[in-house]
């Protein structure tokens, strides 16, 4: 077993497939994406089967997630933002399940790859921009042109605002990717210490790993929450242009 802490992020194909010269193998990352989606769907559909007025445990969890995201969407986007609730909820559940399932030993955290988080963030960015453009037409670009500026500052400010707008999906994706990758690398490093120190002294890094797993669980929730909140904020910026 390798003790290289970064070796856990290597993508290994499970079912090698080729399509027109491109490698579209079913990798362990894809496998855990499927697992995360199945888990999220099962949580939301199977748990509300009893349809009890006083919810049992699983139904309570399902309702908690729903109300949490519903409250967040209506707080940020108002009443007419409800149409974006399915999208925000899907993003939140995918990121949350991806983060949490990766904490199981021998499982793979697909959100620890920048390409996955960038795909999610790019989806949010493109959606928010298209929503803004379809809603406001070309007036959408007044987002970058603030009022009340002297004319000689305007070009510079527009460029700065444009860069700031376009750096948002990058920072959104890098935040999630960096947190997940750093967390799992730390877990592997301390586990490596345990192996190196032997049976007796090796208990100390193991205890640290126990605490670190708790911290990683909290970070999994927080990062999913931050991702969803910023999705709402970007949608709100596009809808309300401020």
């Amino acid at each position: 077993m390798s003790s290289n802490p970064l070796e856990q992020f290597v993508i290994k194909p499970i079912v090698p497939l080729q399509l027109a010269g491109y490698d579209v193998s079913f990798t362990q990352s894809a496998l855990f994406m499927v697992v995360a989606i199945v888990a999220a769907t099962a949580l939301m559909t199977l748990s509300v089967r009893p349809k009890a007025m006083v919810p049992g445990r699983w139904q309570n969890v399902s309702e908690m997630f729903y109300e949490f995201i519903s409250g967040m969407v209506s707080d940020n986007l108002g009443h007419e933002g409800k149409k974006y609730f399915p999208f925000v909820f899907s993003i939140f559940m995918i990121v949350l399940m991806g983060n949490l399932i990766g904490l199981i030993p021998y499982a793979f955290t697909f959100t620890s790859h920048i390409i996955v988080t960038f795909a999610l963030a790019a989806t949010v960015f493109v959606l928010a921009t298209l929503v803004g453009i379809f809603r406001h037409g070309l007036h959408f670009f007044s987002l970058f042109l603030p009022a009340g500026l002297p004319w000689y500052l305007m070009p510079l400010i527009v460029v700065i605002e444009l860069v700031s707008y376009m750096s948002r999906p990058v920072s959104l994706s890098v935040r999630l990717f960096a947190n997940m990758m750093a967390g799992h690398t730390m877990l592997k490093v301390f586990a490596g210490f345990s192996v190196m120190l032997g049976v007796y002294l090796g208990v100390l890094p193991m205890l640290l790993n126990v605490a670190l797993l708790g911290l990683e669980t909290m970070i999994a929730f927080i990062q999913a929450y931050v991702f969803a909140v910023l999705t709402c904020v970007y949608l709100k910026d596009a809808i309300e242009l401020h």
């Binding site: 009443h79 970058f144 042109l145 750096s167 948002r168 990058v170 920072s171 960096a178």
Partner: protein
């Protein structure tokens, strides 16, 4: 527990406000992005700065390749990216929720149709 018709009326009014049928006072509490440990906030600022630098550097590099003026546009864009990164981090810390643009919200109470966005 007895409920007077007034209590029921209050509850119905509150539920209708929540559903948005009656415009109630809009809560402009920013999403709590400023909570969390100091290390989390530090990482947020750092990723904002790094992301803005990366985006602007990439844009400048592409512009240089297109116009052939290496490396001046890229250098200028990196300076712009630094400013944009600081702007993003500042807005995030001030709780302005990554707002783009200087406009204040047009309306804080959506009762007189001054939204101008419909």
């Amino acid at each position: 527990m007895t409920q007077t018709p007034e209590d029921l009326g209050q509850k119905i009014k509150a539920a209708r406000e929540r559903a948005g049928e009656i415009p109630g006072p809009v809560s402009d509490t920013p999403p709590a992005d400023n909570q969390g440990s100091a290390m989390g906030q530090g990482m947020r600022v750092a990723t904002d700065l790094a992301a803005a630098l990366a985006v602007s550097g990439f844009l400048g590099y592409m512009a240089d390749k297109w116009l052939g003026t290496k490396p001046w546009i890229m250098l200028a864009m990196i300076i712009v990216g630094f400013a944009a990164g600081i702007l993003n981090a500042y807005r995030a810390q001030m709780g302005k929720d990554f707002q783009v643009g200087f406009k204040k919200p047009d309306n804080d109470k959506n009762d007189n149709g001054n939204e101008g966005n419909k």
